[in-house]
Subunit: 399 residues, 2 copies
Amino acid sequence: MKNINNLFFDRESPAGRIVRGLAAFGAATAGQLAKSTGLGRSTISAVLSDLRDAGAVLDVEAKTNGQGRPSQLLSLNPASGRCAGVLLGLGEIRIVICDMTHAVLSDVWIPIRRDYTPEEAADQVRESLQTQCAPLGLAIGDLLGVGVAISAPLSYGGRVLNGDILPGWAGVDLAEIFSKRLDCPLHAENESHCGALAEMTWGAAVGESDFVLYKFDLGVGGAIVRDGTVLRGVSGSAAEFGHVVLEPEGRYCRCGNRGCLQTYVGGYYLLRHAEELSGGPVTIEQFIDRAREGRIGYRRLVEDAATKAGWGMGMTATMINPPLFIIAGKLATIGPSFLEPLERSFRRTMLPQPDLPGLQTPRLAVARFLGNDDTVMGAVALVLRQHGRIAEGKTPASL
Amino acid sequence: MKNINNLFFDRESPAGRIVRGLAAFGAATAGQLAKSTGLGRSTISAVLSDLRDAGAVLDVEAKTNGQGRPSQLLSLNPASGRCAGVLLGLGEIRIVICDMTHAVLSDVWIPIRRDYTPEEAADQVRESLQTQCAPLGLAIGDLLGVGVAISAPLSYGGRVLNGDILPGWAGVDLAEIFSKRLDCPLHAENESHCGALAEMTWGAAVGESDFVLYKFDLGVGGAIVRDGTVLRGVSGSAAEFGHVVLEPEGRYCRCGNRGCLQTYVGGYYLLRHAEELSGGPVTIEQFIDRAREGRIGYRRLVEDAATKAGWGMGMTATMINPPLFIIAGKLATIGPSFLEPLERSFRRTMLPQPDLPGLQTPRLAVARFLGNDDTVMGAVALVLRQHGRIAEGKTPASL
């Protein structure tokens, strides 16, 4: 068995495109590869044959649609390459290592002070990655890449664009701080963008090339996916739905503006109201439990928040008119008392659509990942999908 | 000289792609064609040589950047094909015929009752097109296509999605009504989407592959352009910025919702206020003149409208984070008393961007087309860029 590092980083060759296609899918048929790479069937067939001979590609279970000959599913050899995903969260760091079939080989959760510095985070990631790689017979430099998900918009070069969730991190150069400590390719992106990649790869958006994701958690974030690509915008801050201004004279927001959607729906803000109600500290988990129980006080709080959430999504629907909205984040686990008023408000605020036969209109779905698995697995997907590269690392080992 | 009908409609061949590239540009260098078609230089060179021999492509003035050998500009032979653009406006129809170098060969403006029906419009278009084609030695069936711009969102099949501006037209099947009367390929799109195509082809967005256009006129519309394509969304109503809900309990809007941006900024609504001020009917042209003069009463009206306009654009900037906004529509001709409060409000409502060296943020520009030239020329561009096809017409004549 060979490792696939060279092919994985080859932007142009058919073999490189097929290897990256298989990495993104985990397992795929030749037909799916033809569609995703744009290569002809005969080219794909020839390249797959070579990759099979080199031990880099394996035939896995056959896929059948119930009639006709089953299509052969292919995957990369699990041992042909590994990558890591890192979640830099509020008071926590989580690090996952996956193989090329997307199997999780190692998953470590590290509690840390809420005000940890970027340097501390990078040291911690390096130390944990070394410990996690060792039993796999790897060094960090053998990884195809490390993906980092962070609760902030990021510039293309890897600069943190605001300190809304991680106040000390505004302006920090992630590329510099992490590449000093990790000698492999580095990717980094906003956590909601990572969440969209996770939903595309394993969740509610598999096979969807165009959708919008809204994430309602401690903050409010999101992603716009167009033609299978997460849009980043000119500065990197696309889809910062939490900062859409609902009321220009509203409450001050951490971003520096007023009346942002987040100040009505963000968990941070909801918790403050909940603390007034209960006269003591409330965690987001407690908040969700009480909201689910339908406690008085929480009912109206959740309904009003959901109504604002639906308004934000309705405006996005009028602007972008996407086929699908995915609702993610912990608040979605509240269930119908959050989702129903959200949908009512969404339908009332998006441009009314006429009843024409066959006319498609935006539909809503709940994400598969509602904890923080979306974020850390999305960080893995950054590497698998070659999105958000901020540093090259050393030259990968050859095939 | 041959006509290019067959090649123009050939989706796959290199010659078809080059012909459509030249049609979209009007005139282009081989380098520009390589970039826009994705074809290799040698293929382009060989195809251009054949097209030159057939008389379909001409060498025009050479282009120089001041140093080195000038690049040869190429265009289609003007006589190799013609297309038409039709504006279906409020109380007016305008029809333009262009050749393949984008030269306007005929431009007719027809006043008509405000409540004209789709059938009357189609009859009128047919009659005028016949009259306009005759001196060019053409029949309607010889045109490469007719593009129709209409003040409403349209479904992919050519159904009018609302009667916001043209109340009797909601649900109308443009494809059926027009294809009965015009035996050539038909294209149709929302007028603001056409405006964006006009700006991309001849105006403030030449060379820009990603931008957002806001059009402030009697209504408020817009377009989102991504990778050189005007987004249409799942139902066809993408970028209906006029119907973004600023206040869920605001004034009722013609679309069926409340508090839409249009109810604060749309010319229709502003004229009602102006009529209260002056005690008599006011046209949009009078409104603009008085606003430009800075008449008391108009000052605050324009400033408040511009502030709402900037808020809508700020929200779009937070959501999409595009590199460029283009401000179009007659209200933009008011000048600084509209544009300055708009920009202030825009900067205050978009997600604040940090001062990082090299960080790009969305910039504003005023459209080139501020009358209704954008709409009728954009309708021509529908054909040139093969956007919004709703009916095939007869098989085009062969090369």
